[in-house]
Amino acid sequence: MAAYSLTVNGNAVSLNVDDPNTPLLYLLQENLQLNGPKFGCGLGQCGCCTVLLDGQPIRSCITAISDSAGHAVTTIEGLGTTDNPHPIQQSFINQQAMHCGYCLSGPMLYGKAFIDQNPGATSDQILAALGQTPLLCRCHSHSRMLQALVNYAQGTI
């Protein structure tokens, strides 16, 4: 059993884990009781488990705790709350940009990371950025989600 220290949504946490290969996702879900990152495939093929690691999107279902220790993890609940949503979350709300919402961590966090580094990014640029790694929405709400990201990028939420 080893203790791993990391920051999750701004809070310092220490996790006791017997297997250093344990994927970060399960610890976020079980030990920290977070609902934002979700299991979709366990293979890095869908994006439901996406979190930001030091600001960069990663797949927490295939990222071991031993590789996460010492870093800052942000999940979608770390961005804002229902009372005070982050602008990118407000943009999704304004566009009603989801059906079930289970996949949201993927497009929201990949979109945020890209747009924050590329302010004013266009629809085509955002779409291309989201296509860099496998990312899915099975309700097929792509059109509204892309519009929500474009509005966030253009500051027109």
């Binding site: 017997d18 297997d19 344990t22 994927p23 399960y26 879900q29 079980e30 009781q33 609902n35 934002g36 979700k38 299991f39 979709g40 495939c41 366990g42 293979l43 093929q45 869908c46 994006g47 439901c48 979608i76 609940e77 961005l79 804002g80 709350t81 229902t82 949503p85 982050h86 979350q89 407000q90 999704f92 709300i93 009603q96 989801m98 059906h99 079930c100 919402g101 289970y102 996949c103 949201l104 993927g106 497009p107 929201m108 779409l127 291309a128 989201l130 296509g131 860099q132 496998p134 990312l135 899915l136 929405c137 099975r138 309700c139 097929h140 709400s141 792509h142 059109s143 509204r144 892309l146």
Partner: protein
């Protein structure tokens, strides 16, 4: 489920009566109160017994604090129907949405409304015996009470925000909460209660933002995957790698000493492990050494469609005018074609998950609680009760939303798994499938189809005869108390899995076009009945063969209707091309239903339809070309009018099809929430595109294994691919009844794309999916 509804349910504990007290609600009429004591002795979990849906009090409770608690049996799957129900309650009661709390789909607490599926939710809640009738009955009773209190006839009262005023003197008022204090409705639903006139709507018909979205956008929402119960363990199933293999032996020592204290559960061919954490359960499941028997060989993947036509089948006619052979002889031109549709997955983005807490083992004193994203809490309860050997009154199934499911996917199966594992280890168990579990042995596929069509045309270019012969497959389906083997896990523990029994077709008695086996263009005349169809072709024969499926099947968004409409609407296009007619004009020439004609005209107008025959003149036979195609349907033969225009760009050398726009028009009656309906239409259009272009379950028949195990081997539309421009046009007469909405557009996409590809290239795509290999094969043939 919204967090506040979940909090309310948590408060509910094991008794709805306690819940109502705990929530500060005056008990104005909890149903069956007189019988509660007796039932409590029989049923440890559900002392209030069944929920009598004929009683207003089963649907509605109004608190002294003005809170309005409503109960319904139709749930939320990301399609917005939770919000529509809030709108309906607020509208019919003239009450503020902020006072309302809706609890849905919890056995023993909410009315049994069967399953949430088949585009039936609007029909159920706005129809006879549904939520609206309960609300209208209650509203009439409240106005009667107010009439006495304010000493004025009902006709002189107005209601605003849950407060009843004297029309002539707004200082005279009484609130709903004041009216019902200490009283019960004690009323049965009144079928004559008059709903609010739609012309007076202020909430229904407006685009109220969805109540669930803020919590989802901020990661606060609790999906079934996030249910956490004290003392909960984690389970994983271990399925046979080969369909139909049996357990020979399980080597329990293969997991001995592994972390997390793994426990192995074996019940006939059901195998699972339970451990303290999900990761430990995953490791133990991977390590468990199970020896499986051989299994009967599967039908070959490449020979599936021939196999289907060679099996003994259960046959039925949708319609048979008896004169089709003779009319085909009279035709000046006969057109025929065969269409092929593969098995497809629901492919929910979340692998299925459930939590179960079975206490006391089995028998009359045992109990079970199950948290599930099932489409039907009551059917699941009654079916799992049989499997567990526990009286159904001792089983409580609580719906908790999962990801979009698009039909009967793995949510019932995984609920069985969690319940069996919990029963075996005597602790609450959460099971979430791996992606491979989900794809290969967790979900019920949408069935493959073969449709053979033939039509004859007279010298004026009018179709005079239409025949269709279709083959489909079936095994298992929805949970059922009489057939627990409908569910994969039920079959694994030994219940038989129902399949069609061969039988000859008999003459149809009515025109039942629920599966859209008959096309839009026939009259649908059966015997001396009035025409049930939307078209003009009188000579018609539609025959369906159903055969046993090697894999479990179940309803997948637009079940059978999508497969049949792909064939029917592609074929209509082929006939139009054969007589050199514009595809829209040719359809209009054979339609008589004005609402179907209206959506067809609206979609084609919005898409700037180019009126001319297909294929498009002047397109080269190499390089990139463009084209347009159309499709339309009356969904389920009576449940939603829709038309769709697809525009495509085809790289004929690479064989790549790109859909550039999808324009849909829909008439589902007056839209309850126009933006919500548009959102559904958009999602249905894109999901239909994914199913048409990419999706096909594959297997290796020599090894006997499904090879579509993940998102690489079962490709779907993904981020980064070009998103077609989506346009939606809503029709729907204000006073028309509500019709289905969620499955209309998806039904049309395959045929609209195939017709557009033909327009662009002259190549007819008769086999889904439209991969580049299938395009190049069709082009070469």
């Amino acid at each position: 489920m919204t967090p506040d509804a979940y909090a309310a349910l948590k408060k509910a504990g094991s008794s709805r009566r306690d819940f109502l007290r705990g929530a500060g609600v005056m008990i104005i009429g909890f149903s069956m109160a007189g019988k509660a004591t007796k039932l409590a002795a029989q049923s440890p979990i559900n002392p209030t017994g069944l929920v009598d849906a004929t009683l207003v009090d089963s649907w509605l409770a109004i608190g002294a604090d003005e809170s309005i608690t409503a109960y319904s049996g139709k749930c939320e799957f990301g399609q917005g129907f939770e919000t529509v129900q809030y709108q309906l309650i607020a509208e019919e009661l003239s009450a503020p949405m902020s006072n309302i709390k809706l609890i849905f789909c919890d056995t023993g607490f909410t009315p049994d409304q069967g399953v949430t599926s088949g585009s039936q939710s609007h029909l159920a809640e706005f129809g006879p015996g549904g939520l609206r009738q309960a609300l209208d009955t209650a509203r009439d009773a409240l106005l009667q009470l107010a009439s006495q209190q304010l000493d004025a006839p009902v006709g002189q009262l107005v209601v605003q925000n849950g407060v009843v005023y004297l029309q002539s003197d707004s200082t005279q008022w009484v609130t709903y909460g004041q009216l019902v204090q200490g009283t019960r409705f004690n009323l049965t639903l009144n079928p004559n209660a008059v709903p609010k006139n739609p012309s007076q709507y202020t909430i229904l018909g407006t685009s109220v933002p969805r109540v669930d979205i803020p919590a989802k956008a901020t990661g606060q929402f609790q999906y079934v995957q996030n249910v956490r119960v004290r003392g909960m363990l984690h389970g994983k199933v271990v399925r046979s790698p080969i369909w139909g293999a049996h357990v020979v032996s399980v080597d329990q020592s293969s997991v001995a000493g592994m972390p997390g204290n793994p426990q192995v559960v074996v019940n006939n061919d059901f195998v699972g492990v339970v451990a303290d954490t999900e990761w430990h359960a995953i490791m133990a499941a991977a390590a468990l050494n199970v020896t499986w028997s051989n299994a009967d060989p599967l039908p070959s993947f490449s020979g599936l469609y021939d196999y289907m036509q060679q099996q003994a089948s259960s046959d039925s006619y949708t319609v048979n005018s008896g004169d089709t052979a003779q009319m085909l002889q009279q035709a000046v031109q006969v057109v025929s074609a065969q269409y092929l549709h593969p098995y497809q997955m629901h492919g929910a983005i979340a692998s299925s998950c459930a939590v179960a807490d079975v206490q006391g083992g089995t028998g009359a004193n045992a109990t079970a609680k199950i948290w599930s994203a099932t489409q039907g809490v009551y059917p699941l309860r009654d079916s799992v009760a049989v499997v567990l050997g526990i009286p159904n009154g001792n089983v409580r199934v609580t719906f908790v939303e999962g990801s979009g499911c698009y039909g009967c996917n793995g949510n019932d199966n995984v609920s069985f798994d969690a319940a069996l594992l919990s029963q075996a280890v005597g602790a609450p168990v959460r099971v979430q499938y791996s992606r491979k579990d989900e794809n290969t042995a967790g979900e019920n596929y949408g069935p493959a189809h073969v449709n053979k069509l033939m039509a004859g045309v007279d010298k004026s270019g009018q179709i005079i005869v239409w025949t269709s012969e279709a083959w489909t497959l079936s095994k298992g389906g929805r949970p059922s108390a009489t057939a627990p083997g409908n569910i994969i896990t039920g079959a694994l523990v030994g219940f038989p899995a129902p399949v069609p029994t061969p039988s000859a077709a008999t003459a149809p008695k009515t025109f039942a076009n629920n599966s859209n086996t008959a096309c839009n263009y026939v009259t649908g005349v059966v015997g001396t009945n009035a025409p049930g169809g939307t078209g003009t072709i009188a000579s018609q024969q539609v025959l369906v063969h159903s055969i046993p499926s090697p894999y479990f099947t179940g309803p997948l968004r637009s079940p059978e209707r999508l497969q049949n409409t792909f064939a029917n609407e592609s074929f209509m296009d082929e006939i139009a091309a054969a007589v050199k007619a514009d595809p829209v004009q040719f359809r209009l020439k054979h339609l008589k239903d004005q609402r179907l004609i209206a959506v067809l005209n609206a979609a084609t107008m919005a898409a700037n339809w180019d009126t001319r025959p297909s294929p498009k003149p002047g397109n080269a036979s190499t390089g990139v070309v463009t084209g347009r195609g159309v499709s339309c349907v009356l969904y389920e033969g009576n449940n939603g009018y829709c038309a769709l225009v697809a525009q495509v760009s085809v790289d004929q050398d690479a064989g790549t099809i790109t859909v550039t726009s999808l324009t849909a028009s829909q008439d589902s009656g007056p839209p309850s929430n126009p933006d919500g309906l548009k959102n559904q239409m958009e999602g249905g259009a894109l999901q239909g595109m994914s199913r048409a272009l990419f999706e096909e379950v594959k297997w290796n028949d020599r090894a006997g294994i499904i090879t579509s195990t993940d998102w690489t081997s079962y490709p779907v539309f993904q981020w980064g691919m070009p998103i077609p421009q989506l346009k939606t046009v809503l029709l729907g007469p204000l006073n028309a009844p509500k019709l289905g909405a969620g499955e209309c557009t998806i039904t049309l996409v395959g045929s609209a794309i195939a017709n557009a590809v033909f327009d662009a290239t002259g190549v007819r795509m008769r086999r889904i999916p439209f991969t580049s290999a299938n395009f190049l094969a069709a082009k070469g043939s």
